[in-house]
Symmetry: C2
């Protein structure tokens, strides 16, 4: 059965009130639609941990860096609702734009520090847009638990920090990245890749896992970086915006995985920007 | 009976949970302590409208523009608790600093537009500090209603806008300014005035009400501004940071009160900065 689609905050709040009265645990999976297996794994995790699950679909203009990228972002609401049908979610919240940013809207939420790195460098203002809309979605849904993919690792950290800092009573849960058979991380942006480009894109993950293995074997990042970048060029990728070893706690740059750490990358393929990250096994002393 | 003083968020939340279970309406009066009759009028309003009332006392470093002003701000917790005793509030929340800004704290809330005017011009960053701490206090207390004085009129507007924009489910209620017999608006900063200075300070309100009467009689603001400023100088005030007629909705400058409007002022007296504002009767066509 297709889940109830709600487009207005008042309707969502009315639904929420009936759940809260009976003490049910509410989970939310915030998405921008164009759902794929990665999102569906979050829905599954939410269903397992919560009595009620809300999936939100909102393409948030404030987190896009260009009108062109925003316009290109896929909108597939009907297909999304069909994909969610087997999961029995309790509501799909697809707010009309004025339910998120009404006339006179003037407030923004910023997280300092971790937003200056990596994505923050290449997408100025992006994380302010994310932190703001996610704070609103947390407060609109009144959820107890929220589910985010580790694929947007830095986003997960920003959202978790924001919720903790603002005392929003919600638990932010990160779920493992879901991948294509090739290893390519699922992403709504993959829809914009041709079959040929998809094949090239499949090279990103093996190049990254190779780096991670060498780091885990004790090589320093500076020893492998040039080779890894050359491998990406050879595989047909365009600009490599970053390829970095970072601590998994505060995203501080590392040469060796002496702490819990992640290898993170942003690369262009034709006119599509791909990001990925993987954990790197910690070096024992 | 002196009310329960809570210093940790976990204790506040535990208390709150018992109230929510029985469907009680919770009100909050956020203060920086140094309570006077103005604050107590907010407590009275909260008691009348809510089943449970929390008074918060937190001198928020993020909203001060100088370390000196922060250091000078009066701390009078014991006297505050005594003043609250007759009102039977349910909790006084005096959070330890790490309950508001724990290690690694990195998030701020900003309201655009109305914060650029008046106080925003003279106290850069002040309203970000206010919006951030108030968002946190709203979410920490989980209150349904919050009570603020109209004396800080622009702050009231900022807080209301912030709560609405972030979808915090709270009603922000503005209460009339409480004044000394002279007309001087109650303020914790008045404690820093000598008896002689207090007498001078009492001139601010009559000068402002005289302006308001002339505006209500049809004179344009530019016709009375110079005279009003001269009257302030003659009364012994120092720098007049602003004396302005503004619309009460968005604080846009006005020459005549053709809409709901307020006359707002910030003036120095010795080393103390005083602010005040009064409604101006609307001109009929």
């Amino acid at each position: 059965m297709t889940a109830l689609i709600l487009r207005r905050l008042a309707d969502l709040r009315a639904k929420h009130a009936t759940w809260i009265r009976t003490g049910e645990v509410v989970g939310v999976v915030p998405t921008m639609g164009a759902l794929h297996a990665g999102h569906l794994s979050l829905v599954e995790a939410a269903k397992a941990a919560c009595d009620r699950v809300i999936v939100t679909i909102f393409v948030n203009p404030k987190q896009f860096n260009s009108a062109e990228d925003l316009a290109k972002y896929p909108r597939t609401e009907e297909a999304d609702a069909k994909k969610l049908a087997p999961y029995g979610v309790d509501a799909i919240y697809v707010p009309e734009p004025d339910q998120i940013y009404p006339d006179g809207y003037a407030t923004s939420v910023s997280v300092e520090g971790i937003t200056d790195e990596l994505e923050g460098t290449f997408r100025p203002g992006h994380f302010d847009g994310v932190a703001t809309v996610v704070a609103k979605l947390f407060l609109q849904t009144g959820a107890h638990k929220a589910f985010f993919g580790e694929k947007d690792f830095q986003q997960l950290m920003v959202v978790r920090r924001m919720a903790r800092d603002l005392d929003i009573p919600i638990e932010v849960i990160g779920c493992p990245t879901v991948r294509e058979a090739s290893g390519l991380a699922m992403s709504s942006r993959n829809m914009r890749l041709s079959a040929e480009a998809l094949e090239k894109a499949g090279q990103l993950y093996p190049i990254m896992t190779d780096c991670a293995a060498r780091l885990a074997a004790g090589e320093a990042f500076e020893q492998i970086e040039a080779e890894a970048r050359a491998a990406l060029q050879a595989a047909g990728f365009g600009e490599v915006e970053y390829l970095d070893l970072r601590c998994a706690e505060m995203l501080a740059p590392l040469q060796r995985p002496t702490r819990p750490s992640r290898l993170l990358a942003a690369v262009w393929l034709n006119d599509v920007r791909l990001i990925d990250n993987i954990p790197v096994p910690e070096l024992s002393d």
